[in-house]
Amino acid sequence: MRLCVLGAGAVGRSVAELAPEYGHTVTALSDSSSAVVDPDGLDVETALARKEADEALGDASPGDALAAEYDVLVEATPTTLGDAEPGFSHLRTALERDNHVVLANKGPVAERYADVRELEADSAGEVYFEATVGGAIPVCATVDDLGAEHVSAVRGVLNGTANFVLSRMAAEGLDYDHVLAEAQDLGVAEADPSFDVEGTDAALKCVILANVLREADCDSLDELREVEVTLADAEVEGIRDIPGSALELAAEDGRTVRLVGEATRDGVTVGPRLVPENGTLSVTGTRNIVEIDHEYAGGLAISGRGAGGEETASAVLADVARLE
């Protein structure tokens, strides 16, 4: 497959670097200011080395990348809320050209799910978005394989930063500010960690999953539009106000606190929850876990790395493989 990779952050970069190993060619790669385009397959290493040295990726503009020759558009630009732009327009352009789209950007499927499905319905191209939920963990594929119509709930620990903070607080008896500073030093938390610790990131992932579950009950786009979920519909609570004493009291009782997100047909909730200390959901560090409740299969759990360039790229490339 010929890939156009939009976004040269950790995920976009890894997709471009790993593509040859998976038998694909990268024909365009762009970041927010420049792009490199070659219909015969570009030299990813050289382009990324230029970016590394604070130079432009190439001579082309980002618009040239979108207009290049490719089979699959990999949308790995930063997630934006509301109208999900410019990611949504990138997706539209690719679908209007009957190309496929693989999303790593959560915006379009979290904020405009029905719009995405409508564009897809009019296109010969398809849209996949495994990388938007749970990084390397194959959540969407598993729900799809099991039949979303038989899945009643998907829940889990879906934000590595928040989980790192909570598990360090519990293990070391430290308070929130101390652990957050440590996480920022380690590069686990960003300078502005609000997206993670306030639960927004986990909520977006759950909103996407809730859309997948509700879509399973819809027979038409109009129905989907009626029931689609966006971030605004989610009930979200973060971990900022949790004192160390709460984790201590939980531990005395054989429990701990995790930021758990849950998607059901009723909607989306994200918040700190009491979980058994040695239970399925008590993963530690930046690890993520997803639990699926299935009508016949019962409970299933998949744990893994929920973020990281190569980890998330593995999910993007799994989606590309589904399109072959």
């Binding site: 004192p243 004493s245 709460a246 201590e248 939980a250 929850r273 058994p276």
Partner: protein
């Protein structure tokens, strides 16, 4: 499932009607009559516990009819189940249950009222400064659950801007855990207290 057998044509279910009427008459007869109750308790395996549990019954003027002390078996929490049959005026019963709870005796069941489910919550906020005992009372009054025990951790002390935490174990009626959690959230929100709850209705 096969349907229940129906009476043959012409066969009147006369008996049940008459029995019901009789029972109603007997029950409503005397206002001052004592009522019999069965209370199931669980006790810690220590000397003197049973006596302590019986004191509130005597203090409230109830008659002790029988005690079934299952010393050989243990409740899921490793305590000893005790079943007590008493007789008292109708207005005394609630007071007895309250006294028992005040003494730290766990009432598992009082007549048909069974606390089948247990749920542990952690409250976070200015718990001491916002009158914790009032908060607990509101929780019991509004949710219908009983507070089985509480652990408070307020490392910074009262008046501090730092949040304190409390772990609560609530006994809820079977199947009502989710609604109890929901009610507790609403009740404590007035005092800006957050609730960390288990995943509702599961496990």
């Amino acid at each position: 499932m096969p349907s229940e057998s129906t009476p043959a044509p012409g066969e009147q279910p006369v008996d049940s009607d008459e029995t019901a009427e009789d029972a109603a008459e007997t029950d409503g007869g005397h206002e001052t009559e004592l009522q019999a109750h069965t209370i199931r308790l669980e006790l810690v395996d220590e000397p003197g516990q049973l006596l302590a549990a019986l004191k509130p019954i005597a203090d409230n003027g109830a008659n002790l009819l029988s005690i079934f002390h299952e010393r050989g078996s243990l409740t899921p929490r490793g305590r000893i189940p005790v079943e007590v049959d008493i007789e008292c005026p109708p207005d005394r019963f609630e007071g007895i249950l309250e006294d028992l709870r005040d003494r730290g005796v766990n009432v598992i069941q009082a007549d048909a009222e069974e606390y089948g489910d247990e749920v542990t919550l952690v409250l976070v906020g200015h718990l001491v400064d916002t009158d914790l005992s009032d908060t607990l009372k509101n929780i019991q009054d509004c949710s219908g659950a009983s507070v089985a025990d509480i652990d408070l951790s307020a490392p910074a002390g009262a008046g501090s801007s730092a949040h304190s935490s409390a772990r609560l174990r609530l006994r809820a009626h079977a199947g009502e855990t989710a609604s109890v959690i929901e009610t507790v959230r609403e009740v404590v929100a007035e005092k800006d207290i957050d609730v960390i709850a288990p995943l509702e209705g599961r496990r």
